[in-house]
């Protein structure tokens, strides 16, 4: 069995295991799995409205997945996508509300501000990792909570006068499209999906086709070797976190300028950043893999909303399945051992 085939088979087996365990949980708790999966399918792709909502949900997942995957390729674990996503969301809405400009300036400005905010939020852990060798996982987790509380504070005290949510961004800074909405029976589908797909290409091109990308990957494979070859490990660590943060900030802009058009106070995290980890892992940290994994998780999350009504199954079941997929991908060592056993038997 070739290495490539194994790399493709491992996430698929993890996915199947996740679905099997999810099914067992439903059978044990007395729900009908067939009804549940039918409702899931219907709720994700059943009509143009659901399809539009699914694509809308896929958009931030692609970008969050790219953010996690990009850092992974350079050997860094960016758990802070959630926080970078929140500050990106906040920045995009802030700029959207603060200025009155023609659309061709205002919208790009709002998007860029989200990218800058995300980049800044990721720059701190990158710098601390490069300068002080502080583990990025812990710093990004802490930065998540700082982002959550600071965003809530800014929404309540700076953007509004003690209110829970801001007003809607004006049309000149909005990604919403009446045409796309009418096409999908008034779903919240917006132009963000185009940006997300372009970003997939950018990530692929940057990592696979440029000298800088080669350096970044080299640092991810072996820091010492990269250093010996004359590459600046520290510079590449910071750069990768910044690019990762840009993707995460963009994901925030998708929600701020596209889906919602405003930002509201949050009692806890949105989960987009954490699902981004699942997306990146299942997608094998490649641009194409992230795209497919985001499509899967987007469809699962949106389809799940139909499950309580249509099949009486709590939509948290899908969260369980996603968690199980992450678990099995993480434990893929055992899947690989299993695949090796099979291929050895075939060889005999």
């Amino acid at each position: 069995m070739s290495k490539r085939l194994k790399n493709i088979l491992t996430p698929i087996i993890a996915l199947l295991l996740g679905i099997i365990v999810g099914t067992i949980i439903m059978i044990v708790t007395g729900y009908n799995p067939l009804d549940a999966y039918a409702a899931l399918w219907e709720g994700a792709l059943g009509n143009p409205y659901y399809l539009g909502e699914t694509i809308r949900q896929i958009t931030p997942y692609i970008l969050a997945g790219l953010a996690v995957a990009f850092a992974f390729r350079v050997g860094l674990f960016n758990i802070g996508v959630e926080g970078q996503f929140l500050v990106g969301w906040l920045a995009s809405v802030w700029v959207g509300l603060a200025f009155h400009l023609p659309k061709f300036i205002h919208l790009p400005l709002a998007i860029i501000s989200a990218m800058v905010a995300g980049a800044l939020w990721a720059f701190i852990p990158g710098l601390l990792k490069a300068r002080f060798r502080v583990h990025e996982v812990i710093v990004t987790i802490m930065m998540n909570y700082i982002a959550l509380y600071v965003c809530n504070y800014v929404i309540q005290n700076v953007l509004t006068n003690g209110k829970e949510r801001t007003g809607n961004v004006p049309d000149s800074a909005s990604l919403a499209s009446p045409w796309l909405q009418s096409l999908t029976q008034n779903s919240r589908l917006h132009w963000g999906i185009v940006i997300a797909i372009i970003c997939c290409f950018i990530m692929w091109f940057l990592l696979e086709k440029t000298t800088r990308g080669f350096e970044l990957r080299a640092v991810g494979f072996n820091q010492d070797a990269a250093h010996y070859a004359g590459m600046s490990v520290n510079k590449n660590i910071i750069l990768s976190m910044v690019i990762s943060g840009i993707f995460a900030g963009l994901a925030g802009a998708m929600e701020g300028l596209g889906t919602f058009g405003y930002i509201a106070m949050k009692s806890s995290f949105t989960g987009v950043g954490f699902n981004g980890i699942a997306v990146a892992l299942l997608g094998g940290n490649t641009a194409l893999g992230v795209f497919f994994a985001a499509c899967l998780f987007g469809a699962l999350e949106v389809g799940a909303l139909n499950m309580p009504l249509a099949a009486g199954v709590p939509n948290e079941l899908v969260d369980i399945i996603i968690a199980l997929i992450v678990f099995f991908v993480a434990a893929s060592y055992i899947i690989r051992v299993f695949l090796e056993r099979i291929s050895k038997k075939e060889a005999k």
């Binding site: 996603i322 968690a323 434990a331």
Partner: protein, 319 residues
């Protein structure tokens, strides 16, 4: 409001908010001292909070006043069992510890909320009848001044947390078991050469972290929130992780940091009723634990160093 009155409000409240953090941070210490990173503390608290509330609601008429304590034991067991998943993935299946921890967190939230809907047909549980109540500690409450501040209107669990921290310190630093636990976290190969079963020690470390995380969640649910919903545990596990790091992976250090974070948390809640804190926006108190942790890691407040083999798989025969 006199200074004495302010202390009488702040100290019990601090100790109450600190108790879940102390338990969970100690769990983190056991796991990471054995060399397994445990980002899943948050998830373990979810499981503990869920189990304790469900047990409490179901069996309150059987056990009466003892219910919260028995529920806490059940939460401990549930946390220990749930942490086995992390142990199996991170130790036996050689999963990346951080990824496996993330999976534990996602699984715990999904599973507990699913079960709440399955059992109660609604998004949150009822409020428990018998939780941990305010008490005065007998004898000690009569000590002048100190008794009033520390031992009146307080909670048993606060003191239990401190006692458990001291026991944890004794176990980790004064017993052969603790030496073995630390050795597999610092240099597993050397420990293996000396005949210590690295895998077994690491399993024990993770299971202890599950048990203590379960207690942490149970304490929070039964003493503070009194029910279980999607917002019951929101970040306490990560704050406990921060306390463990801020306390430099030392049980008493973790306890001290947890008490300090509990202080910050309780101030952000009761601060508005205290005269000199009204003017400070609560956001500073809310983010203080996290900012301080980053500063501690960076070395501005005495550098915090993780055990050497924290997060490193031990594969026999590899160098």
């Amino acid at each position: 409001m006199s200074f004495m009155q302010i202390l009488m409000i702040i100290v019990p409240s601090t100790l109450l908010w600190a108790a879940p953090l102390v338990f969970t941070a100690l769990g983190g210490v056991f796991s990471e001292r054995s060399g397994v990173i445990n980002i899943g503390l948050e998830g373990l608290m979810w499981v503990g909070a869920f189990t304790s509330i469900v047990f409490n609601l179901t069996f309150v008429h059987v056990f009466g006043n003892a219910t919260p304590w028995i529920a806490l034991l059940v939460a401990m067991l549930a946390g220990a069992v749930f942490s086995l998943l992390h142990a199996v993935a991170a130790i036996t299946f050689r999963a990346d510890h951080t990824v496996s921890g993330v999976a534990i967190n996602l699984l715990a939230t999904g599973l507990t909320l699913f079960l709440v809907k399955f059992i109660y047909n609604k998004g949150e549980t009822d409020i428990i009848q018998k939780g941990f109540n305010k008490i005065d500690i007998p004898v000690l409450k009569d000590i002048p001044i100190i008794g009033k501040i520390f031992f009146q209107n307080t909670y048993w669990v606060s003191f239990l947390a401190i006692i458990v921290a001291i026991i944890a310190w004794y176990i980790i630093y004064k017993t052969p078991f603790g030496l073995r636990l630390r050795s597999v976290g610092e240099h597993p190969m050397a420990a293996d050469t000396m005949g210590i079963n690295v895998t077994k020690m690491r399993y024990i470390g993770v299971i202890l972290s599950g048990a203590l995380g379960g207690i942490g969640g149970g304490v929070y649910a039964e003493a503070i929130s009194s029910n279980f919903s999607h917002a019951t545990i929101s970040g306490q596990g990560f704050m406990a992780l921060a306390a463990m790091i801020f306390g430099k992976w030392h049980p008493l250090g973790a306890m001290g940091a947890a008490i300090f974070f509990g202080f910050a948390q309780s101030l952000s809640i009761i601060g508005s009723s205290l005269p000199f804190l009204k003017s400070i926006p609560s956001v500073y108190l809310l983010i203080a634990p996290y900012v301080l942790t980053i500063l501690a890691l960076t070395g501005f407040i005495g550098r915090a160093e993780a055990p050497k083999a924290d997060g490193v798989h031990y594969i026999k025969g590899s160098r």
